[in-house]
């Protein structure tokens, strides 16, 4: 019998399995390492900020005394910012994505827009800040307001929203659109009633993740004029505002060691906000996907 047909291990020839196991171990290590580092970092932060973390920290206004300085206006400012940013960026971003993906396929305009959007995602955020300052704060007369800040952040996250929405739209198969058109629907009816609902999980996930990125942006907010000392809560979109990253930065640059503890606590709060937002994205996506796969 020729050796070609032999199916038994040769003596001591088990190295294929060994090599594979080694490779898997390597990959596992590559995954665990950053996760471990993140945990260590967070753990240290938690330890550092723990003495100051508490209900009064979250509900107090900033003050000269570290022990009584809190992050309430900063946190509220950040929350308002996120909301406004979402309100501005999502309709614009989804609309742009729908145009590019569903209507603009043939036109030169669409190609130009497409090229530019990918570029926009890579622009440093400080540039957005400067743009915001010139356009929103000064030219459009919004002043150093929540609206200006949110508009600037909206510009920042817009490319991400557009790209992730387009990806989500692409997951809806062409056959679905064809079927709708064959039933005598217009393009808009098709998009609104069938394509967008089907793409919704992806759109939601992408949008929430994009907006959560805006959470941590500091530079553009500094340029646009977020305050680092905010003794009040913003009462309208035209009010001045503060934000968590600004407040944290402000505390870190103080000479008193006690403020560092505040900063650490502030970072913990900021990270928790991000965590909650990301978790929300995952839950929303999960729920929607389960609804799609209902009754199998």
């Amino acid at each position: 019998m020729s050796d070609k047909w032999n199916i038994k291990h040769a003596a001591g020839q088990r190295s294929y399995a060994l090599r594979e196991k080694l490779f898997v171990a390597l990959c596992l290590f590559a995954v665990l390492l950053p996760v471990l580092m993140l945990f260590t970092l967070f753990g240290r932060l938690l330890l550092d900020g723990l003495p100051r973390l508490g209900w009064d920290f979250i509900t107090s206004y900033p003050s000269r005394k570290a022990a009584s300085a809190g992050i309430l206006p900063a946190a509220v400012g950040t929350l308002y910012l996120i909301l406004l940013t979402a309100l501005i960026a999502l309709p614009l971003g989804v609309g742009a994505a729908v145009y590019l993906e569903e209507y603009g396929k043939r036109s030169k305009l669409a190609t130009i827009i497409e090229i530019n959007i990918s570029n926009l995602a890579g622009v440093p955020s400080i540039i957005y800040g400067l743009l915001g300052l010139g356009l929103f704060v000064r030219a459009l007369g919004m002043g150093r307001s929540l609206l200006a800040g949110a508009s600037t952040l909206a510009l920042l996250v817009l490319p991400v929203v557009v790209v992730s929405t387009r990806e989500a739209l692409r997951t809806v198969p062409m056959a679905t659109r064809e079927t709708c058109l064959a039933l005598g629907a217009t393009r808009w009816q098709t998009i609104k009633q069938v394509v967008l609902p089907q793409a919704l999980p992806g759109v939601m996930t992408g949008s929430i993740l994009a907006v959560s990125r805006a959470l941590g942006e500091t530079a553009p907010l500094v340029v646009v004029g977020a305050l680092s000392y905010v003794p009040f809560l913003p009462d309208s979109v035209f009010a001045q505002f503060g934000a968590l990253p600004i407040q944290i930065f402000n505390w870190v640059s103080r000479p008193q060691a006690a403020f560092l503890v505040n900063a650490a606590a502030g970072i913990v709060v900021l990270l928790m906000m991000m965590l909650v937002l990301n978790l929300a994205a995952i839950i929303v996506r999960d729920r929607m996907q389960r609804k799609l796969a209902r009754a199998h």
Binding site: K105, R106, L183, G184, T186, Q193, Q198, A295, H296
Partner: protein, 261 residues
């Protein structure tokens, strides 16, 4: 035997003259002349790439939805040219329904909503008659008995053959008078195929059906008239019985007897 062109026979549903179609600058249909009789089944056969799918998509103006695709010529539906400038293709597609190769019920919708999808999409649904519409369409598609107790469950839980019948019901709910079918059984097993063919046999009493198929046996079983396409030309069209026993053109003969390639 009466001459099919005599004034005694009813006028054709579609009267097509000089139909040409392009993808960009590439001409894929080179001037097709054919009559599609009303209320009956016309089968379109031919090897891959012969233009049969393109042809059928010109009948409901789906062809032009692809970027850089266009068509030219006269396609008269009950005497009116569907390519005339005052024709709304959207309204045309409500009259001329289409069923595709891969069964694709909408995954986010229940069976009931799937059937009503066409009406919802076009805002022509009436709440009071919705239930009746659903039952009528599902009965016509020979699916009612199998799903009547689970109308609110998702359409994706059905078998392939059932899904295709659901798609047919969805198309029928819009009340078209022509049904275009682009290889509707290609993705189905023989039993599901037989049920759809049986269904076609019932449907042809009420609708004009044009079916593209790559199975000659299916064309022979199901249709009254058959048209053979080759590389963008209509080679021969005639009664199915004649085409499959005594075709006139050698190319038709060669294709049918398997002497191609």
């Amino acid at each position: 035997m009466t001459d099919p062109n005599s004034s005694m026979s009813p006028p054709p549903k579609y009267s097509i003259r000089g139909l040409k179609a392009w993808f960009g600058s590439h001409e894929v249909l080179h001037g097709v002349d054919i009559d599609i009789p009303a209320k009956g089944v016309t089968a379109i056969i031919g090897p891959s790439g012969c233009g049969k799918s393109t042809f059928i998509r010109c009948l409901n103006r789906m062809h032009e939805l692809v970027a850089s695709a266009r068509a030219d010529g006269r396609v008269d539906l009950d005497g009116e040219d569907v390519y005339a400038s005052d024709v709304d293709p959207v309204l045309l597609r409500r009259r001329v329904g289409m069923v595709f190769q891969k069964p694709n019920p909408f995954p986010t919708m229940s069976i009931r909503d799937n059937v009503l999808a066409g009406k919802h999409l076009t805002h022509t649904n009436k709440k009071e008659t919705a239930d009746k519409t659903v039952e009528a369409a599902l009965r016509q598609a020979a699916l009612w008995d199998e799903v009547k107790d689970r109308l609110d469950l998702s359409g994706s839980g059905l078998s392939g053959g059932q899904q295709q019948r659901l798609c047919i019901a969805r198309t029928l709910a819009v009340e078209p008078d022509v049904l275009l079918m682009d290889e509707p059984c290609s993705a189905l097993d023989p039993i599901a195929t037989a049920r759809i063919e049986d269904l076609i046999h019932e449907l042809k009493e009420r609708y004009t059906i044009v079916i593209v198929t790559h199975s000659m046996q299916q064309a022979a079983r199901v249709s009254d008239q058959t048209a053979f396409f080759l590389q963008g030309d209509l080679i021969e069209a005639g009664p199915t019985n004649t085409i499959f026993t005594k075709p006139k053109d050698t190319r038709t003969e060669d294709y049918i007897t398997g002497k191609f390639g």
